[in-house]
């Protein structure tokens, strides 16, 4: 029967448009009231004067690495990093070991999360068995076990017939299909974006069209199957154009961008530094600009980090041997603020929407991503102006592979409330 009273913060709720200073009363795991000058008996008080109080942030693309890769990250450490970044919910991608392709693994993830995670964990099930791209995974049972979407992330579904069948099946269960769009034959093991920089550095490049070709194929299949579809980590101008056009035609399509793709281009990479190596790779300046335009124009629905921890030993190798991926939970808000809000591209409410209502709608989480009476008591409290420097060595996650180490930011999370409890404070 614990109560939490968050007082005097700038309460922003994208669903209702509420944007003014107010108090929030939370009892147990629900928001009871949002209003002026609230009282409560025996409530913990949190003074949010000068801070923004938003619905709890949702990161719909996170690699928690458990089961199977606990040396890189665990559900517990990943969840702590999430809380440290202001996230109250994360979606766990299925490329674990074993791959989350049936109800047993889905249930395992949920049980581990119930016991050790400090934030809500929503599993994403695989599209195909072992994410091998051939036979469909146990989509129905995974949904019943609690999966909120399906994806073979890390890999695309190369076989179009299999993707079509997966979409048809998923539609019946009202599960969104999330694709990692990359035509593997075109990208052919490229280590960075194919362009002037890769040519200069003598590295194999992965061209933008490897992503565009797959996005185009997926959108055409959505037209045929009517499935709800979501493009993971969009990185090219052309892909955004295709998605925008599909949305204009009324197709049930959504997409996300990562903070690192919004902030960095291939030319920003320190040569051969594996902390800049991920898939899709950092693209050209034109692509980066197009992503910000896409956010401003409403084509992009969510910001998701694609948090991909790798142990230091694996990232300390010649560039071409390093695994792809960077962490991002703890810098997501600051990077997004810098690129999109402090630069004047979008208003703060739109940014909050990208972290809250946007992902909640895609995943069908009706009581999250919103901050009004009756909603789950997940709250993100942040200061949009505090200046700080990111020190990756103080990260709460196990890994250290971030391109933002040492970078100065303006804006940071201050406290994270999950289910009515403060699980992290600055």
């Amino acid at each position: 029967m614990a109560k939490l009273l968050i007082k005097n913060g700038r309460v922003m709720d994208p669903e209702t448009g509420h944007d003014q200073v107010a108090d929030i009363l939370i009892r147990d795991r629900y928001v009871v009231r949002v209003g002026q000058n609230l009282h409560a008996i025996a409530a913990t008080l949190f003074d949010a004067t000068g801070l923004v109080v938003a619905p709890g942030f949702i990161d719909m693309h996170v690699h928690l690495r458990e089961p199977g890769f606990e040396h890189a990250e665990t559900i517990e450490t990943g969840s702590r990093a999430a809380a440290g970044g202001g996230f109250t919910s994360v979606c766990a991608m299925p490329n674990t070991q074993p791959v989350n392709d049936d109800a047993t693994v889905t249930r395992y993830v949920l049980e581990r999360a119930a016991r050790s995670a400090v934030v809500n964990v929503f599993p994403i099930g695989a599209i195909t068995k072992n994410s091998a791209g051939q036979e469909l995974a146990a989509i129905g049972s995974m949904k019943n076990a609690g999966a909120v979407a399906i994806s073979d992330d890390g890999k695309p579904v190369m076989n179009s017939r299999v993707m079509r069948r997966a979409m048809e099946f998923a539609r019946v269960f009202d599960l969104p299909v999330i694709d990692h769009c990359e035509d593997l034959e075109l990208s052919a093991g490229g280590d960075m974006h194919e362009g002037l920089e890769s040519t200069r550095l003598g590295l194999k490049g992965s061209p933008g069209c490897a992503e565009d070709v797959m996005v185009a194929r997926d959108l055409l299949l959505v037209e045929v199957t009517g499935a709800r579809y979501h493009t993971a980590h969009v990185s090219t101008r052309r892909s955004l154009e295709l998605i925008r056009e599909a949305k204009a035609r009324g197709l049930p399509v959504s997409c996300e961008v990562t903070p690192h793709h919004l902030a960095l281009a291939d030319a920003d990479m320190i040569p051969y530094d594996s902390h800049y190596k991920m898939r899709p790779p950092l693209r050209s300046r034109q692509d980066v600009a197009a992503l910000a335009d896409g956010v401003a124009a409403g084509v992009v629905d969510a910001i998701a980090t694609d948090h991909a921890p790798h142990p230091g030993s694996e990232k300390m190798q010649e560039f071409e041997r390093c695994p792809h991926g960077v962490i991002g939970l703890e810098t997501a808000l600051a990077v997004a603020l810098q690129v999109l809000v402090h630069s004047g591209r979008i208003p703060l409410m739109r940014l909050v929407e990208l972290f809250t209502l946007g992902p909640a709608r895609i995943l069908g989480l009706a009581s999250r991503g919103r901050l009004s009476a009756g909603m789950a008591a997940d709250v993100t409290i942040f200061d949009p102006d505090v200046e700080w420097t990111y020190d990756v060595n103080r990260s709460l996650c196990k890994a250290r592979n971030s391109p933002f180490d040492g970078r100065k930011f303006r804006g940071a999370p201050v406290a994270t409330v999950v289910g009515g409890r403060i699980v992290w404070q600055r």
Binding site: Y30, R33, H39, I41, S367
Partner: protein, 183 residues
């Protein structure tokens, strides 16, 4: 929901009406300062009681007693699991609670847990000077030390029995039924 069968009708529409008139007079008699009085009906069926009593007092004394609605769903102590659906909360109290002489109203007083939750919810709105309880039916079997100041009718029941109060505003008819659980 288990199967139930109607055992008896405890009150007809006219009996309900007469009881409410009597309760209105009792409230007037026992309230020192009507300016401080406010009614709060516990959703759902405490609400018609509060509204009708306020209307009756208005016609008797030409006084507008403020009426508030209290939704206690979020204050129940059995809200353990979080669903992915939001929980509706329709509390509407448009007047300040502090310093008021509140009469909390509900259709049936049984274990007392609903009233306890209502007190919790009410106190999160402010500190009233006093809270009294008014119920249409008191059916006994208390599990908490809670009593009603104003009681329409006291009825002896077993725990296999349920009292169903129906109001025109919600159920299209006014009556009180005694119903029994059937296995």
């Amino acid at each position: 929901m288990s199967e139930t069968r109607e055992k008896a009708q405890l009150m007809s529409a006219s009996e309900i009406e007469r009881t409410l008139v009597r309760l209105a007079h009792e409230v007037l008699e026992r309230s020192d300062d009507l300016d401080r009085v406010a009614f709060i009906g516990i959703r759902r069926r405490g609400v018609p009681i509060a509204q009708r009593l306020a209307a009756r007092i208005n016609s008797l004394e030409a006084r507008d007693i403020p009426v508030g609605i209290l939704d206690i769903t979020l204050y129940r102590d059995d809200l353990t699991t979080i669903s992915n659906q939001p929980v509706l909360n329709a509390t509407e109290i448009s007047f300040p609670v502090a310093g008021k002489d509140i009469i909390l109203m509900d259709d049936v007083l049984y274990t007392g847990r609903t009233v306890r939750a209502a007190l919790d919810a009410l106190f999160d709105h402010g500190r009233p000077a006093r809270v009294q309880l008014l119920v249409l039916i008191d059916r006994g079997h208390r599990e908490l030390p809670i009593e009603a100041r104003f009681v329409g009718r006291a009825v002896q029941t077993t725990d296999r029995e349920i009292i169903e109060v129906k109001f025109k505003e919600i159920d299209q008819v006014d009556k009180v039924l005694l119903v029994e659980k059937v296995d």
